[in-house]
Symmetry: C2
Subunit: 203 residues, 2 copies
């Protein structure tokens, strides 16, 4: 479970897309949300778009691994696709914020699987520029997003890794390196115990 | 602090040499030992060869980060070169066994810096073959080393990462990947806190 978090505008979405393209074993977790669909978005691909009643039902039924309220909209990670992918030996990429990450880190069933990476912008000018040039949102939302960016960044210490996204290619490479290294983590290698047992017994 | 441990004969020395050659920021920790020098070994390069009185004095003076007794010979890691290298922003490679690794992991001053990798042989035939063809040692030592190999392997779970050394090149690549990824660990990036503080304040 590879979590990427960042302040909005730090380049996380671009990095995620590049990772998914080059790593065949990596699949994306699609969040459920109550926020309105934006032009160009596809239900079931960008998000599962649900209303608040349905979202609350999903929480009540234990169908969400984590959920958070951001600017009055709810976001959550459906449990089943994650369990299916992990069961198939796939890795999963999560584009979630600090609230969701905290919940995955606090949950016994997900804590040990978690690899969390925080992506920082190289400087504030870049960040502000990117937040301003997203055409679809009104100034009020841009202001809120900038304040949320500062809030999000206040949680970077809760992550395992941090990357300053200066050049996209280098950042993609860094996340890929983290992912590859974490695959050799002792708890992540299937059949390792039996293998070592066999080695030891024939000595 | 990158620790490589393995049963004798699993290819650790070859992997270490290749890593040191390709990674300019990596330097080797040279252990002190009371075991006799072998033909071809160089004092201060392969080991610091000392007698038991001197070794005990080093322990008493707190000059060793860890030390262990293996087959009646003492081995230990001098503290000062490690602190100097870390102070210079270098990474250090340690070729030590599970006893030394346990001590570094239990020590407050080294625990957080530690990245530990256990290297396993691909199969027992390979391992036995390598242990037998080391020409310089009598059969009795080979037997002891095989028993120590099984003992060493019983501690693989105490390590952060494990690599099965099937092909040397791939194993070197894997350790390098772990090292590169661990350099982006949140606790390892100098000036990160100040950088984020600056980003947040200008928002």
């Amino acid at each position: 479970m590879l979590v990427l978090s960042s302040p909005s505008g730090a380049g996380k979405t671009t990095i995620s897309r590049a990772l998914l393209e080059r790593d065949d074993n990596l699949t994306m977790s699609v969040s459920a949300t109550t926020r309105p669909m934006r032009p160009g978005e596809v239900d079931g691909k960008d998000y599962y778009f649900v209303d608040e009643a349905k979202f609350n039902q999903m929480i009540a039924d234990g169908e969400l691994l984590e959920h958070a309220n951001v600017f009055g909209n709810f976001y959550g990670t459906p449990r089943k696709p994650v369990e299916d992918a992990l069961g198939d030996g796939k890795d999963i990429l999560f584009d979630i914020d600090w609230q969701g990450t905290q919940q995955l880190a606090a949950n016994d069933s997900t804590r040990d699987d978690l690899v969390s990476v925080f992506i920082l912008p190289p400087n504030t000018a870049e960040l502000e520029n990117r937040l301003r040039t997203r055409a679809q949102d009104p100034e009020e939302v841009v202001q809120k997003r900038m304040s949320k960016a500062a809030d999000e960044m206040s949680h970077y210490r809760e992550y395992g890794y941090v990357i300053v996204n200066d050049k996209i290619d280098a950042s993609v490479e860094q996340v890929q390196t983290i992912l590859t290294a974490e695959r050799t983590r002792i708890g992540r290698q299937m059949g390792l115990h039996e293998f070592v047992q066999e080695l030891r017994e024939s000595d």
